[in-house]
Amino acid sequence: SSDSTSQNEEEESEVVTGGDIRVAMNASPPTLDPHMTTATATSEVSRHIFETLLTLNSNYEVVPMLAESFEQSEDGLTTTFELRQGVTFHNGKEMTSADVVASMESWLIRSGKSESTFSGTTFEAEGDYTVIMNLETPSIGALHTMAAPTQFSAIMPKEIIESAPAQGVDEFIGTGPFEFVEWKQDQYIHLQKFENYQSLDANPDGLAGKREALVDNVYFDVVTDDSTRVAGLTTGQYQVGLWLPRDNYDQLSNTPNVVTSVDLYGPQNLIFNKAEGVFTDPLMRQAINAVLNKDEIMLAAFADEVFYRLDHGLMYQEQLDWYSEAGQEYYNQNDQDLAQQLLQEAGYNGEEIRILTSRDYDHIYNTSVVVQQQLEEAGINASLEVYDWATVVQKRSEPSEYDAFITGFVTVTDPTQIVTLDPSWPGFTDDETIRDLLENIRVSTSQEEAKAYFEELQEYNWSTYLTHIKIGDFSLLTGYRNNVEGINFFEGIVLWNTTVH
């Protein structure tokens, strides 16, 4: 897709350092404090500034980052982290165990993790370079969660955490390969190479391994208009365009000097309101599951087959530890007879089904439109209620306001993190079987045991309960100029080890 009819006549040397990269992103992050939010915009930017004790490699395996090593006790309740020495923050201060403890405690509280996976967990420092984590109950997902790339457990200086206001820290000092320079609200975020960065020496893989800032400056330009991002990428005003409209795939692939990249983002789901309305009846949910033609939905919503795959798994195919075939036969049934039968059994009488959606996210909107159309065709009285995203978020937590909504999730590292299974989350899953299975997974002592419970859960959910319907996994379209090399995508963009010439 890239003819090298490059205009700039710089000779190609081995590793070119220096230069700027401008990344056009679609939305302004609500904050740069990764503890605060699950927003992907935040993690995509702040992963360049902050680092975590642990991180994931491309197989979603937990590997150390700021920790030199870590060791888990037999009972799984205590984990000891040995910190790397000589790692300095961007403000010049060396990272010590005090910072780690403060950061981890802050993360637990502010991310809300202290209420689920980590309930009752404490961190304590032992000397300057050792930190001990004590869990109250063993948790299979704990380390994965600590390594997770969204709402990640960034390590920051203690003082900054202590002086942070409610909506997150306001000084962005981390240990990452890039340091924060300036945030012009709604315009750009400027990062620059951190000269004193202490890189690991391992091979880069996923988010793990060697990290080296090879460009002087990184600008994350906030360009909310999709077409403008495409145009700016085409002309080279931006070196990288994130969240590009998938319909422009062919065109961009044929644009000289532009390279396209398709990267997995997460599952697309239809979530039922199980607290009120017709979907309190599992039969109704099953009926809907029988109706939907997922291939069609995904094609309409994601434009091209390269951007989605049909998969029933509540965890990714790539997450080898978890992935299971269980329940597959219930996925993408597209069986209208069965649907009618189920509807009849459920006693459906043409009640209106309100699907909440928003045009703020094309993939969500487009999916909703196709779902609504398919339901209509099946004789179900479905209607779309379109609001701005903030309103949707509010309304979906009020049981009386809707029957279903569609949303995509970011990757989770273990099944207990799947929000639709959480009773307090919109959709209001309230099922004993699920609760018990989740608890079993959580306290499992081995991966095999946990996976067995998870398979049971996935089977149960597809066949009977249907907290939500997973429609498929989808990918994002990213484009970059062909003078950008070494760019990597793993749960978002990775700009270290990237050069521009």
Binding site: N248, D360, T391
Partner: protein
């Protein structure tokens, strides 16, 4: 003309003159070629809107996801959209919503604006209050208003109309007020007062008709703007409810694919431009017609 009509019955005079008048009215309108063109354009658009079901061979909702974004062809004369729906059907059906929104908003704002503008022009105290309210409304971000209204009343077409009406009414009110202030000073208004006419009679029978021509200009403009803004509002859930088509939301969908599916912006865009053009020409003609003084210079 100069026939002595003394022995003719008055009623006869009446009917004959009325007929003459009507003929002159029509003749004057027809003489205004641009206005006629405008009228025809508006008629055609309305025709499309009303007879959409007979004109479109596809349903505007039927998706054919395998043939997304097909360029115009014999099968889909205007091509298909990003869901593989027939664009012609959507544009034609979209006329219903867009014209509906445009016309209702134009009518409601005209009416409301007229009431506010006229009374503000007539009563000084009211004027201060109403104009301050208008100031406030005009400073208000339309998008916030739309979200609030949608949230309060639900995302329905009527509410789009309400939201847009609230946004535009102050503009109309100001226009009406400013010309009513002039008309109010005319001697014929005083003459009516001298006859003992009540205030509402003076306002509605004597001042109102004389503020029509700026009103017509303003409301044709609002019609155009409402069609376009509706599209913007539908982004906030304040527009025509999905999946119903409107020119505005087709345009917005088309905007995403403007680089590779020109037909999705071109056709609804053309529809808007033509209708607005037609309506403006028609409005101009109407204004000329309502103004007994106007003399159009013909070449």
């Amino acid at each position: 003309m100069e026939v002595t009509m003394k022995d003719q019955k008055l009623s006869e005079i009446r009917s004959s003159i009325k007929k003459q008048r009507r003929q002159l009215f029509i003749k004057r309108f027809l003489a205004n070629r641009l206005a006629v063109t405008g009228g025809i354009i508006v008629l055609i658009t309305s025709f499309f809107a009303i007879f959409a079901p007979f004109l479109a061979s596809y349903s505007p909702y039927e998706m054919e996801v395998t043939s997304r974004l097909v360029p115009p062809s014999t099968d889909h004369i205007l091509g298909t959209d990003n869901f593989g729906r027939d664009l012609f059907a959507r544009v034609v059906y979209g006329a219903q919503a867009s014209m509906g929104v445009g016309i209702s908003v134009a009518l409601i704002t005209s009416l409301l604006g007229m009431v506010i503008g006229l009374y503000a022009a007539y009563y000084k105290v009211l004027d201060h209050i109403l104009m301050r309210v208008c100031d406030g409304l005009m400073a208000f971000p339309a998008i916030l208003l739309a979200i609030a209204i949608m949230a309060a009343l639900g995302p329905r077409l009527e509410n789009v109309i309400i939201a847009l009406s609230i946004v535009y009414t102050p503009y109309v009110a100001r226009v009406v007020r400013s010309s009513a202030l002039v008309v109010r000073e005319q001697t014929y208004v005083e003459a009516m007062k001298a006859q003992g006419a009540s205030t509402s009679r003076i306002i509605w029978f004597h001042i109102a008709p004389n503020t029509l021509s700026p009103l017509i200009i303003q409301s044709t403009f609002i019609f155009a703007d409402a069609i376009i803004i509706e599209a913007g509002l539908s982004f906030l859930g304040a527009g025509v409810p999905a999946p119903d088509p409107s020119w505005g939301n087709i345009l917005f969908d088309g905007k995403l694919v403007i680089f590779n599916a020109w037909w999705m912006t071109l056709f609804p865009g053309l529809a808007i431009i033509l209708t607005v053009l037609g309506l403006n020409l028609f409005g101009d003609g109407l204004r000329d017609l309502l103004d007994p003084h106007s003399k159009r210079v013909k070449k």
